[in-house]
Symmetry: C2
Subunit: 136 residues, 2 copies
């Protein structure tokens, strides 16, 4: 496949695998769990512009990843969003939030703080996600 | 039905009607088109916690409202999100954004500016939404 991930999505993320038509990325932000789903489509930027079957596939992937994030990280709340004002390549954020996290109750997108994962943490999350979601 | 809209969602919005299991609200913010979908469920706060059929119904409503907002208001980009950190009653934002709008490229949620619709504008939008979406 000819799909090229936008360099700003590639930077600061770790690829976890593929789920249906989506690439699954973990943002390198250990302050809260933050997964990005990138549908591997080139022509359109907004979810409603996807063909119906692709839209449904992405919505199903969002649900599965949300269930994984909720189950594995045990956040109090999920924030799910397709924004893309700055990076126009279609991508969906799934962020686990808790009242004790440093950005609460603001959004993750308006928050500048950063903390990186260790290589071990990334491997643990990749392994858990891969098993739970049957990632390819 | 026993559903009660959260007072902070009721304040500053106009009810446009019902679409499937969702109440459809127009935010009183004329700086950019902003529709809220409120699934009329009481027990859960996050989308992935919905029963699968309800989840699919909400995703379908999001797509239909997105198509309406794109077609009627002609924004350059849609921002679609379920956040709910402050108002925990489940609700989904569908916001039409343009590079010329005053919050661009930031998010609508991090923006404090406000401008109200006139009663005539609200009626026009309600009528168009009702016809396009077959609202009840």
């Amino acid at each position: 496949m000819d799909f090229t991930l936008h360099p700003r999505l590639a930077a600061g993320t770790f690829e976890l695998g593929h789920l249906g038509i989506c690439r699954v990325l973990l943002k390198n932000q250990s302050l809260f769990p933050w997964v990005l789903l990138v549908p591997e489509v080139e022509e359109v930027e907004d979810l409603h512009e996807l063909a119906l079957a692709d839209y449904q596939a992405v919505m199903s992937a969002i649900r599965e990843v949300s269930l994984f994030v909720a189950d594995y990280f045990k956040p109090e709340k999920l924030n799910v969003a397709s924004i893309g004002n700055q990076v126009r390549q279609m991508h969906v954020h799934i962020v686990g939030r808790s009242t004790a996290d440093p950005a609460w109750p603001g959004t993750a997108w308006a928050f500048d703080g950063k903390a990186s994962y260790s290589a071990e943490q990334v491997e643990e999350i990749r392994s858990a996600a891969s098993a739970a979601l049957n990632l390819e």
